[in-house]
């Protein structure tokens, strides 16, 4: 019994069953993307839904252009996480695009919002920054780029739902310390540069309490106008 759980937890036992029938040539692995990205699933989940590790992000349903930009950044070291930098190093860009498309097209349900252990004041502060920003400190509302429903916009602005607070804090920290960078102008580097530790804690906690909207898909390109231009989101 415990063995079966171990297998299911790793995803390998399960993934064999989700391969479409007929894709398997005898003696060969299934000719599917699911089989090709099995190297990713222990950390990101079978369909990219994330795992219990709070620092391992969900990939499913994020805009394909965004995921592709991240894979390129890991490939050339602009974004650093050695186990991933190593895996992606010699794969070639068209294949990374295929991996991005694959995870973008997966739609496992978003996780239920988690009750937060921070105070109501902190949550209110987080809500204010996310929905309205703070003009006096040059902080634009997160929603002004990530969308009124925080589900992101095609092709390269990610949604902010379904991410755990530790992951969001770590990413904002990475931008502040320069270990994560995106194509210039790097909007998030600018935004994160204006945030204090307390701001980061507040937005990360608030975001995690948001319920999933009915339609969690990123909105089409051009649905709203960004407050300023971001290098990773083509005009």
């Amino acid at each position: 019994m415990s063995l079966r759980i171990a297998i299911a937890g790793l995803g390998i036992g399960l993934s064999v069953q989700v391969f479409p029938v007929g894709a398997q040539t005898p003696g060969q692995p299934p000719d599917t993307m699911a089989a090709r990205v099995e190297a990713c699933t222990p950390c990101h989940g079978n369909q990219g839904e994330g795992t219990s590790d709070v620092y391992f992000p969900r990939l499913a349903g994020k805009p394909a252009g965004y995921l592709y930009n991240q894979l390129l950044a890991f490939e050339n070291g602009r974004r650093k996480y050695p186990p991933m930098n190593y895996l992606l190093e010699y794969l070639g860009d068209p294949y990374l695009q295929e991996m991005a498309d694959y995870f973008a097209s997966q739609h496992p349900p978003l996780p239920a919002p988690v009750p937060s252990d921070v105070s109501q004041d902190v949550l209110r502060h987080g809500e204010a920054l996310v929905t309205r920003g703070d003009a006096s400190r040059q902080i634009p509302a997160c929603a002004s780029c990530h969308g009124p429903t925080l589900t992101g916009m095609e092709p390269a602005i990610p949604g902010l739902l379904g991410l755990r607070p530790n992951y969001v804090s770590a990413q904002l920290g990475a931008w502040r310390y320069g270990t994560r960078t995106a194509k210039a102008p790097d909007c998030m580097q600018i935004v994160a540069g204006h945030l204090t530790e307390a701001d980061v804690t507040a937005v990360a906690a608030f975001l995690a309490t948001r319920p999933a909207p009915e339609n969690a898909a990123p909105v089409p390109k051009g649905t709203y106008i960004l407050p300023f231009f971001c290098g990773s989101q083509p005009n």
């Binding site: 063995l3 171990a6 297998i7 790793l10 390998i12 036992g13 064999v16 003696g27 060969q28 692995p29 089989a35 090709r36 990205v37 099995e38 190297a39 990713c40 699933t41 222990p42 950390c43 590790d53 050339n76 070291g77 602009r78 050695p82 186990p83 930098n85 190593y86 895996l87 992606l88 190093e89 010699y90 794969l91 070639g92 068209p94 294949y95 295929e98």
Partner: protein
């Protein structure tokens, strides 16, 4: 009237030769580009997020960090003012144009075998790429290694200058393969035991060794107990070199880089020539496997835990009997690279997982997940012991300590 005709004729003739000269130039440049691929210059002379051939790539060594040079034709910071003679001197003699000594991290110990014509072609190619103004970053070597005169000692011991001499008793194909493997391919730079002085004694060439700082073991290309290819078919060898995967095994780690940046670009004839040569240098006969370093009760406990881990985590891809689904999911039974005396590579594969390189022949490779976060040191040791010792594999058990030590091996 006559003179007008004559002028026209002369004009036509002259444009003809100009066009022809241009054609010859492009032929030479194209050949130079191909040879630069065979030499894998790009691997060292291009930084991960940098422009091609501008150098600046860090090469960690036991003596400190070297930074590779800008070899674009920029006159100030690259090799724009160099002559073909200067370039040949670097490739052939390991010296700068002013006679200064070059660190052997630039593999001139192998490139010395390159012919003058091939050196000129590579130089013509490098002259044809866009110049980039980017200053070389100074090396960062610990005292006293920053003193270049120390290179003299290394040269005396390990460097023998000289172009490749073909062996008339062997076929043209064998000689071509030998020229590529021993010369531009600089395979011996990794596939030889690197001694404390940072050199490869000739007699040890291709005998295999642990690559310093990277903690990957480059197996012997002569011993059939390691990566000697004596009992491989020519097709399996050419598949491995050209696509990164084969029915017998796959490449990973630093060898994935070599296939990705260099070997996949070689044409079929050159690849086959290398295969013929590599197959021929494998020593006949097999070594007796070294006996187990662990007490038998301990190793049989390891093996039974190893089987449990294997069946749960590995068998879905590598098969219950280690048969795999080659070439994409490599077989582990009868796979030399697992049975080698050094267990560094299989331990690292289990910890770090990996993808073979994306190549034209295999653009969408299948991958293996990293298990570092999923298995304890004991489980890693157990499963590696299991795959090294079952299905007729004749490797030796590994200990949890060995597994633990490799958790901190650098990933890039």
């Amino acid at each position: 009237m006559r003179s007008a005709w004559l002028t026209l004729l002369l004009f036509l003739a002259s444009t003809g030769t100009v066009a022809q000269a241009q054609d010859n130039r492009t032929v030479v440049v194209t050949r130079g580009e191909y040879l630069a691929r065979a030499g894998d210059c790009i691997a060292c002379h291009t930084a991960p997020d940098g422009q091609i051939f501008t150098g600046g790539r860090a090469m960690p060594t036991p003596f400190g960090t070297l930074y590779t040079s800008n070899i674009t034709p920029d006159p100030e910071t690259g090799i724009g003012r160099w002559s073909p003679d200067d370039f040949y001197k670097t490739m052939h003699s390991g010296r700068f144009p002013d006679g200064g000594l070059i660190y052997p991290a630039m593999p001139f110990g192998s490139y010395t075998k390159v012919t003058r014509a091939d050196s000129d072609a590579i130089f013509a190619y490098l002259r044809s790429i866009p110049p980039v103004n980017q200053k070389n970053r100074p090396h960062d070597l610990r005292f006293p290694y920053g003193n270049r005169s120390l290179i003299l000692g290394w040269r005396t011991l390990f460097f023998s200058e000289g172009e490749y001499k073909s062996d008339p008793s062997k076929s043209a194909e064998w000689n071509r393969g030998s020229y590529l493997v021993e010369g531009l391919g600089h395979c011996g730079m990794c596939h030889s035991p690197i001694n404390a002085l940072g050199g490869t004694p000739q007699s040890e060439a291709f005998k295999g060794g642990l690559i310093p700082m990277q903690n990957w073991y480059a197996p012997s290309l002569t011993s059939n107990r390691e990566a000697g290819l004596g009992d491989w078919s020519i097709k399996d060898i050419t598949d491995l070199l050209q696509t990164g995967v084969s029915a017998r095994g796959v490449v990973y780690g630093p060898m994935a880089e070599v296939v990705h940046n260099s070997l996949q670009y070689l044409n079929d004839e050159d690849t086959k020539a290398m295969a013929v040569y590599l197959k021929s240098i494998a020593e006949s006969g097999t070594r007796v496997p070294s006996s187990s370093a662990l007490p038998t009760t301990e190793s049989s406990l390891l093996t039974s835990l190893g089987k449990t881990v294997y069946d749960a985590r590995c068998a879905s891809c590598h098969g219950a009997q280690g048969e795999g689904k080659p070439p994409h999911w490599p077989p582990l039974a009868n796979n030399q690279s697992i049975e080698m005396e050094s267990a560094v590579n299989p331990i690292r594969m289990v910890l770090n997982g990996g993808y073979p390189p994306g190549t034209e022949g295999n653009p969408r490779p299948y991958g293996m997940p990293p298990f570092a976060g999923l298995l304890s040191d004991n489980e890693v040791a157990a499963v590696v012991t299991y795959i090294r010792t079952t299905w007729g594999n004749r490797g030796t058990p590994v200990s949890a300590r060995e597994a633990n030590e490799l958790r901190s091996a650098p990933l890039n």
